[in-house]
Structures are given as C-alpha cells and as structure tokens.
C-alpha cells in the first residue's frame, strides 16, 4: 500500500506544489486504500471517488499551467457527514436525512475547497452527533483501527474521522465537538484533534447538536497538520454570528518547538481520580517530558467542573430537542434507540433548569480563566480510559464501576462548557496496544500556544507516527 497514505498533509502539499507527486496519484492512493479497508472499518458513509479524481485532475492542470498554489492544493481530506456539501448527500449519520443533498457547502468546507483541498467522501458518525461512542445503527459502527477485530469503538461522535485518519484512509478530517466529539475519537484512535475556541471557526452549514456548545475543528495525525487546517478554516463568517472578528494568526509559524518558561497546569482531582492507571502514568510522563523541555509544571484543580455533567446534559438535551422537535413528533421511529431516548430527555428540562445550567457554565468558564491567568496551558488525560469494546456500557475505573458514556465525556466536556481551545493527542499505548490520549487546554483564541505545545511534544515523542496493525 502506498506510503503516500501515511504522509502528512503538510508534506503532501509540499510534494504536490513542487511536482514531486501528482494530486491524481495522491487521491488515487487514498481511494485504493479506502476500497481495501473501509469494508471492515466503516469509516465512510459516502465515497466520492469520481468527483475526487476529477478535482485532482483539475488541481494537476492548475499546477501544470503554472498557477500559484497554497499548501493544501491537491491534498485530500474528508469531513464528518454533518457538514453540508453541495451536491453530495449530508446524512448526519441518520435515516431521516438519508436522501438530503445540500445546494451549498458549509463555510469551512468552502474554505478548504478554495484552498485547493480535495474531498474524498463523507465520514461516519454517531447519529446526529448525539453520543460519544460513535455507534451508528443505519450505516454500521465505525471500528477502531487499533483493534478492528475486537470490535472496539472508534469513539464519537466523529467516529469515522478518527478511524479514517488513524488508518491512513484520509490525512485529515473536520469533526465537530459538543462534549468531546473531536477529542474523544482522537484519543481512542491515536490521532491529533483540535477543538478551537468557541467562535474561532464557523458553524454555518454544519448540522447542529446544541448550538451553544458545538465547535468545529480539524482531526489529523499531527499538530502541524491541525495548524494547517485551522489556518484555512478559521476566521469571521457573517453566516455564523458567533464567530469572532479577531485576526487569524499564522499557526504554522507558532510551531517553534520552544517550551522554555511555559507554565503548565497539570489538572488533578476530577481529571485523574478515575483515570485508568496506564492513562494516569502516560499523562504524568508527558508532563515530565514537557518539564525537561523547559516548561514549569504545577498541579491544579478545577472545583466547579463536578457540575458540568448535569448542566451540560440539560443544555444539550434542550437545544437538541429544539432542533429535532418536528422529526421527534413525526418520525421518532427513524432515530436509533439511544439517540431517541436522549432527545426525549429534553422534554423534561424546563426553562429555569436551562438558565440555571447556563449560570453554572459562566461559573466554570470563570474558574478556567482564573487558573489560566497564571498558566499558559492545562494538561489532562483526554479520556480516562482507552477504547472500550463495542456495546460495553459499564467499565471499571478508579474504585468502582463507571458508566462508559460518562467516562468518555468526563475530561473533554468541561471545555465545551467553558469554550476554551483544547487539543487531544496520543501520549502512549496500553499494554494491550490501544492509544492513550492527553489533552492540552489553552486560553481563549490562543490555539497557537496549544498547538505549539502539542507540536513540541510530538517532536520529542513518536506516538503520533505509529500505525495500527489492523489497518
């Protein structure tokens, strides 16, 4: 199988721009790999082979005509199937939208297309993004490439994105993250996933789960590629009133490898109390590596995050039911059972509950801001456990049984709540060969520092370069 499928987006872009490789060759290599492996992995809902090859030929023609091209020209990628794509079905992983073909692209899809990136297809996901396991009753469950035969979950809701990028079916993806749906599959699949600050990247043309908690962001195999994708998609969009007018920095230029004097808060208590011992050790080891590179590490607690699960559940259930109300009246049988049950919960959260939950949110955001006033970034596990087996609802964590769903969301959801940027990246493997993920959290709109830390860590380690045997 072609080594092109394991090249970074940055390298592919460079090789294409210097005519060392043709975009057609790159796209064909990925399509061949999808054909060979996706029957087992079920990462894709739709593959756009003909359109991708046509775009690749057009990209090649532009190059041969001597037109100037950017760093993503001719580079393949694939979005989670909740990004509207002109002329290409956008199912949201659902039966309800199984025949929905948008007439326009989501803003961020259009921005990547303008940058010359080539869409390979649309990726699997938890139905309507409402679940951290990444299961899908309609299109099949995306499998974790690190243990495809054991049927472990890829994590969700951006499960196809996690599986595809980890298995070399696509070098990059856009996921969405309402409680951890970029960072959870990144953690379980051993890739790098960035949830930017709320307002950094446009959600226009992205099917919502919960408007006030939804974030869109890149999923790749390195911080450098996340920087490349974020640079292309970030920035104000009049179609999304929550986007910021703050200028978009050069994220690639921020990747200096320098950590001297960087202040890192190692999150304890809620973030490590129930973490599996292997996860805790891997994250502590990562903290020591950052320290050896010149960072100053101290331990910190966020006391208010214990309220996040309740308040977040109330907000997401309310907003999700608001979006789905008409279908929940007319077509409830067309939802997969777990999603239907979660949506029904929204009918029992009243207005006072919702507002109280948003007050808790302000409290949590304030506390995160306070600890970041004295530190540059925070460090924690991305998930307190490695990939669970498909269908496993309860596991053992800490001193007792733990609900798998709640455990998956435990470390990521606080930063959807607070809106701070957070990146998950691999920091080790369990003895059974499953990836372990760390999480780096930064100040609002300081994705550059978050990516700098992850990139510096990836210069010191090789976890992110490992390839799953199952793929």
């Amino acid at each position: 199988m072609s080594e092109l499928c394991w090249a970074s987006m940055a390298d592919l872009g460079r090789m294409i721009a210097t005519k060392q490789v043709s975009p057609v060759e790159v796209v064909r290599a990925h399509l061949d790999r999808i054909a060979a492996h996706d029957g087992k992995l079920r990462a894709f809902i739709t593959v756009c082979a003909d359109a991708a090859l046509e775009s690749a030929r057009a990209a090649e023609a532009e190059l041969m005509a001597g037109r100037p091209v950017g760093p993503l020209h001719g580079v393949p990628w694939a979005p989670k199937d909740l990004y509207l794509t002109k002329g290409v079905r956008t199912s949201g992983g659902s039966k309800i939208l199984a025949d929905s073909v948008p007439t326009a692209d989501a803003t961020v899809v259009a921005r990547l297309a303008s940058a010359g990136a080539i869409m390979l297809g649309k990726l699997n996901m938890h139905e309507f993004a409402y679940g951290p396991e990444g299961i899908n009753a309609h299109y099949g469950d995306a499998r974790n490439p690190w243990s495809a035969d054991a049927h472990r979950i890829a994590g969700g809701s951006s499960s196809g994105s996690g599986a595809a990028v980890a298995a070399g079916l696509a070098p990059g993806s856009l996921g969405s993250d309402t409680g951890g749906s970029i960072r959870i599959p990144a953690s379980l699949c051993g890739i790098t996933g960035l949830k930017p600050t709320y307002g950094r990247a446009s959600r226009a043309g992205v099917l919502p789960l919960a408007w006030s908690m939804d974030h869109v962001g890149p999923m790749t195999r390195s911080a450098r590629d996340c920087a490349l994708m974020l640079g292309a998609i970030a920035g104000y969009d009049p179609a999304d009133p929550t986007t910021s007018v703050l200028p978009v920095p050069d994220y690639g230029a921020a990747l200096t490898g320098d950590l001297k004097g960087l202040r890192v808060g190692l999150l304890r208590a809620h973030f490590t109390d129930v973490a599996a011992p292997e996860v805790k050790t891997a994250v502590e080891t990562a903290a020591k590596q950052l320290e050896r590179a010149g960072a100053v590490v101290d331990e910190v607690n966020l006391t208010q995050v214990t309220h996040v699960a309740t308040a977040s559940a109330a907000i997401v259930a309310s907003e999700a039911l608001a979006y789905h109300a008409a279908w929940m009246r007319s077509r409830p049988q067309d939802y997969q059972p777990d999603v239907r049950e979660r949506l029904r919960l929204g009918a029992f959260v009243n207005g006072a509950h919702y507002v109280r939950s948003q007050q808790v949110r302000a409290l949590v955001a304030r506390e995160v801001d306070e600890v970041l006033a004295r530190r540059d970034v925070l460090l924690s596990p991305a998930t307190p456990l490695a990939a669970p087996v498909l269908g496993e609802r309860e596991t053992t964590l800490g001193d007792g049984p733990a609900d798998v769903r709640a455990a998956l969301l435990r470390c990521t959801r606080p930063f959807n709540f607070s809106g701070h940027p957070a990146c998950a990246a691999p920091c080790g493997f369990t003895t059974s060969g499953l990836p372990i993920g760390l999480q780096i959290v930064g100040r609002p709109f300081d994705e550059a520092t978050v990516l700098r830390v992850v990139d510096a860590y990836q210069r010191m380690t090789d976890w992110h370069t490992r390839r799953p045997a199952a793929a």
Partner: protein, 62 residues
C-alpha cells in the same frame, strides 16, 4: 422538592404532551429512571451560589 418525588409515566406523558409530544407509556417507561436522575441532579444545582451570575449563552465573541 421535585427530586424526592417519584416520577410516574403518567406525569411524563402529561409533561411531554404539553410540548406536543405524543409518546406512549412503553416509550416513556425506559427513560423514567434517567429523567429522575437528571431532575435530581438539576435540583442539586439549586444549592450553588449562582444568584448574581449572569447566564452564559454566547461568549468570547470579540
């Protein structure tokens, strides 16, 4: 205190109907324990000192 009330399927049915949802007993019974747990947890938020905290809806839009 709602949290200490036992929530019946009939109560759920009436509440859902107010929102325009015509869900059957069989559809509501499986979620009854989850509704009870969520409402109990939401009641605990009442104990937090949130009196003058402005609710966040959208933020960090600079």
């Amino acid at each position: 205190m709602l949290a200490r009330m036992e929530i019946s399927v009939e109560m759920l049915k009436r509440t859902a109907a107010l929102g325009g949802f015509d869900w059957s007993d069989a559809e509501l019974e499986p979620i009854r324990p989850a509704v009870e747990r969520l409402l109990e947890a939401l009641e605990r938020l009442e104990a937090l000192p949130l009196g003058d905290v402005e609710p966040t809806t959208q933020y960090r839009v600079i």
